[in-house]
Subunit: 336 residues, 2 copies
């Protein structure tokens, strides 16, 4: 199936090929229809491909490039000067139709800027948003956006994020009428900043949207909403704070002894659904093709999960669903 081709930025993140290659090998062995395009620096990528026997793999095409986007690179610099980077080449493969989705663990700002330039947004969408899953106490998931692509957002952008998130919840989580909420500092109508209040008013007037009002930080995990909308600064802090609390609990050291070991095993099992390695894959949505962002400090299981997420978005054709929502909702505020 030619549509199951994913382009991978093998250099992104804190560990590069040492985590991206094992994740790719795992995905290839699990999914017989999957084809991978791999982009990276030859000196770093080749040894890992050889070691994991992917250098001659029939479903792998490797493209060596000369540049790499670092975590310290500004987006504008990367956009202008890093045109032969692994990130840029992976996105170009998407734009030319050689792949249907892209995965990178690289610099979020650079990925956002390059993706907007190379892929463009769906008509009606001003800016893509970074969206991620949050585990819920009832065992399900909610979607949180934006988690870091847009540091400050207008009311108009928050409204667009709500519609984009609604489509993701319908098509990725399979929820027919997702409950959409705005993250705020209180439940009352007068709470929050101007952008959130105006977005709340507009969303309550939006046709065919299951808008359920404001939600607070302590309600992010209790199954109160399926889509939770906020600006990228707030969403990034909320997501990383919840990771921090989970890691604090997972990482606490215990005394030795059998009972302590049993307890630790049990605790880790209970907390596994909050483990960033299990759910950290975020997507840039609102673009004309699927771009999945894996956490920069993530390990191989997280990058593997990000590849699975890219495949899921290809199969559900999320970009087309979003385009359709914005095209058929002319009465909504975004259409002005």
């Amino acid at each position: 199936m030619s549509q199951l081709t994913v382009a991978l930025d093998m250099m992104g993140g804190d560990f590069g090929p040492s985590i991206t290659v094992p994740a790719a090998a795992q995905a290839l062995s699990l999914l017989p229809d999957l084809n991978l395009l791999m982009f990276g620096l030859e000196a770093e990528l080749s040894p890992w491909l050889t070691r994991l026997q992917l250098d001659q793999h029939p479903r792998v095409q490797t493209y060596f490039c000369t540049q790499q986007v670092g975590n310290d690179h500004k987006a504008a610099y990367a956009l202008r000067h890093l045109t032969d980077s692994s990130m840029r080449n992976a996105l170009d493969a998407l734009a030319s139709g050689r792949a249907s989705a892209c995965v990178s663990a690289g610099n979020t700002g650079a990925l956002m800027a390059m993706a907007m330039k190379v892929l463009n947004t769906v008509p009606g969408v001003d800016r893509p948003a970074l969206i991620t899953r949050l585990p819920q106490g009832d065992g399900g998931y909610a979607l949180l956006l934006d988690v870091g692509a847009n540091i400050s957002c207008s009311a108009e952008q928050l409204v667009q994020f709500a519609l984009m998130g609604e489509q993701a919840a319908q098509h990725i989580l399979g929820i027919a009428s997702p409950r959409v909420a705005l993250l705020n500092v209180g439940a009352e109508a007068n709470k929050g900043n101007e952008a959130v209040r105006v977005a709340g008013t507009r969303l309550s007037q939006t046709a065919n949207l299951n808008y359920s009002g404001y939600i607070e930080g302590n309600e992010l995990f209790i199954g109160r909403a399926d889509v939770i909308v906020c600006d990228g600064f707030v969403g990034n802090v909320a997501l990383k704070t919840s990771e921090g609390v989970a890691r604090l609990l997972l990482g606490q050291k215990l005394k030795r002894g059998l009972l302590s070991k049993m307890l630790t095993f049990w605790l880790k099992k209970r907390l596994s659904h909050l483990n960033p390695d299990q759910y950290n894959g975020a997507s840039l949505i609102g673009l004309r093709a699927s771009v999945v962002k894996s956490h920069g400090s993530a390990g191989s299981p997280a990058f593997f999960n990000a590849i699975l997420q890219a495949i899921s978005e290809i199969e559900h054709d999320l970009p087309a669903s979003i385009a359709h929502r914005f095209d058929t909702a002319p009465q909504d505020s975004h259409a002005r």
Copy 2:
């Protein structure tokens, strides 16, 4: 000791006298030097005072008033029309010197507005900030501000919060040279919004300040900083998100059986330092007297802890320390 007199808004929060009176009784029995001024509606407060035998207590003075600030009241309305509320009367007692600190679990916006009008800020401080303790993995605490009093903040305000937080860490936590950090979405200098970036530059140039740069949400609990500064929207979401994760883990249901009960007991003990009831008291600092805000949904142990926090601030004379810091730091940015 006349200075150990605390004014209590007995009506604030979701449960009113049913939690404030038991907390007050506990504080009185524990602390023989403590005097309490209690403000509330007679019909609701009196039965609880009788039930807990505080109606004739030698160290309690009760003032019945006619109004109460609700959670839905806008700050401007409360300021203008609720002048005989329990909250306002408690703050007036502070302003007139009849008490040295005030505790309320009521509407944060109204408390902030009334406190600013009645008490005024320390010279050099534009707006008070709500500050709270965050438990750290090493067993200590960090201070986080603002957690909800100022929804959006200028760089200038963030700089002021940093100096106010430094004083609180020195005088309440006893840390000689507290490490002060800004909460941001990344560690690199180009990350974040304009206000955070400008505040970062100014703090790095501030004399006699142990500024340690940006901190991310996943580092809030790992002992990387003693004072963490952000605007009130971000701080409120971060604090409530961490509470939400802790409650999710504390509240999970287990199967029956002895082993499960042992495990639950052990888990709750391990998580107790993240339990909002134990650490939820926040203070409005930057005012000319101490005002402690207890969580609206908190129970009696939390309100009791808030009373202890008020006493600690009286004993350390935090308002005077902040005034001194702003008075003796004319080279800092706030002095312009």
